[in-house]
């Protein structure tokens, strides 16, 4: 059984805030849910499936379902694979719809790490209590940024990847962000500016890192008959896949990500190949995240990511693979420190023809969204979804 064609994304909404001093996290969830319902032309009581993560306040989906007044729910899922969760949720929602477990699924994300002055990337953080790897990593100052930086260091060592090549990823994102009125960083930057920005964790500079922002987003996934009864362009889920990459019992290899497994499975289900993709949303927590995922998804050979991203190849209208045309996490936003939601939303915009005209891919009919959640350098979740404009 496949989910190909069994569900459509009928609603998408990205919160315009980047710093939510005067709003609660729960309120942000409500605002994005309302926005996505309005976008779809649906109302609250149409929702019978609800998806969120541990970033939502409360116990799994329970407290948010209560706060939002969702009383018709018959399918719940709070699978948490960090920032990639919301990409994974699209696949899970399609599965639930295909099996008749629900008809209209709502996925929400919201958070305010910026208003709360959270040291997102540079302070050691545990994911919970009784985490068995913590005693062997937290005391050593494992942070988000150094766990990705160590992957970049090894990639440079094995493949000759350079800081300048990584910088091209940020440069491309900045070219897109200049057109996004909500983006936190709208200034177009050069390779020189990226490599001359302060070193945070060798070899990653400040401009190799994503922004820290408040906000959120929501998606609504529905069965085909419902999608076709609505007035929005049809965005079909063609393929979805997920994986975890472990530390492999101490035999870890930091040159690849879980995209090595989730990517090919999603392509197989969709019946397409990387060269068919016209637009790609690629999780950009750091520049190195993009490079490694592009290789693992099959957009280029392993080790060739540096050459692939250089010279503007990711810039819409310039290169072969337009990516993150909203400016991505590197320039636009990274709500709740989780970038998967906005990755799907921008892919939906592209497929609907609703991206900013300066970055819209002409006749965009096939798009991919991919994310890595957790830490690239220790253990992470990986989710890929392939979407088609019908």
């Amino acid at each position: 059984m496949s989910i190909n064609g069994k569900a459509y994304i009928v609603g998408a909404f990205e919160h315009p805030t980047r710093k939510a001093d005067d709003k609660s996290v729960a309120q942000l969830h409500a605002e994005v849910a309302f926005g996505a319902l309005q976008d779809a032309g649906l109302s609250k009581d149409d929702i019978d499936g609800y998806f969120c993560t541990g970033a939502a306040p409360g116990l799994g989906p329970i407290n948010m379902a209560d706060y939002l007044g969702l009383t018709k729910l018959r399918h719940l899922d709070s699978t948490d694979v960090g920032g990639s969760s919301y990409i994974l949720h699209v696949g899970h929602a399609a599965e639930a719809i295909a099996l008749g477990k629900c008809n209209i699924a709502l996925i929400t994300l919201a958070g305010r790490p910026r208003a709360e002055a959270m040291a997102t990337g540079t302070a050691p953080r545990s994911w919970g209590v009784n985490v068995p790897d913590d005693p062997f990593e937290i005391p050593y100052g494992r942070t988000v940024v150094n766990a990705y930086a160590m992957c970049a260091m090894r990639h440079m060592y094995e493949y000759g990847t350079t800081s300048e090549q990584l910088a091209w990823i940020k440069v491309a994102a900045s070219h897109h962000a200049q057109w996004n009125e909500h983006a936190m960083l709208r200034k177009v930057v050069t390779v020189e500016e990226v490599v001359n920005s302060p070193m945070i964790a060798d070899p990653l500079h400040r401009l190799d890192c994503c922004v820290i922002s408040d906000g959120g987003g929501a998606l609504i996934v529905a069965r085909p008959e419902i999608a076709k009864s609505l007035k929005r362009p049809l965005v079909k889920v063609r393929g979805a896949a997920e994986a975890t990459k472990n530390q492999n019992a101490g035999y870890t290899d930091l040159t690849y990500s879980g995209a090595r497994w989730s990517g090919p499975r999603a392509f197989e289900e969709a019946g397409v190949k990387p060269s068919d993709i016209q637009y790609a949303s690629i999780y950009d927590s750091f520049t190195i995240t993009v490079l490694i995922q592009l290789e693992d998804l099959g957009f280029c050979e392993k080790g060739q990511g540096g050459k692939f991203v250089a010279d503007g190849n990711l810039i819409s209208g310039v290169g072969k693979l337009p990516f993150n045309t909203d400016g991505g996490g590197l320039c636009n936003n990274h709500p709740a420190n989780r970038g998967g939601m906005t990755k799907v939303i921008e892919a939906v915009r592209q497929l609907r023809g609703e991206a900013h005209p300066k970055v819209q891919v002409p006749n965009c009919t096939l798009a991919l969204a991919h994310g890595t959640g957790g830490l690239l350098g220790t253990r992470h979740g990986s989710a890929t979804v392939i979407l088609e404009r019908e």
């Binding site: 009784n130 005693p135 062997f136 050593y140 942070t143």
Partner: protein, 132 residues
Amino acid sequence: MPTMASDRALPAIQVDPTNKPYFDAAREGRLLIGLCKDTGKYFWYPRGCSPFTLSNNVELVEAKGTGTIYTYSVMRTKEPYAVAYVELDEGVRIFTNIVDCDLDSLRIGQRVKVVFKPTQGDSPPATMFTPI
């Protein structure tokens, strides 16, 4: 200008029943690694099951305490420090810090040996490495 590693304050380590023997040995200056007795393979990090077979037929055995830097990153904070994966001569790659050296001189492939650094209060020491 070299960037000398400093002895930064380390948080207490959360000891649980399955990793306690590891940390007891660390207090004695010995580095232990996991051994799966079903397969004869070493594993990291220490745990109460084999990550190869899931059985509890595991024990901790003493490692030589030497290895090479697989990868690293220097955190350019007020008090800079180097995180790293060190590949032990036994083959497992362990998350650690490289200490007692010029952090700007580190390189992948460099030979290192284990050192134990005190943490807060009665907590066991942290397992770190320094260039040979």
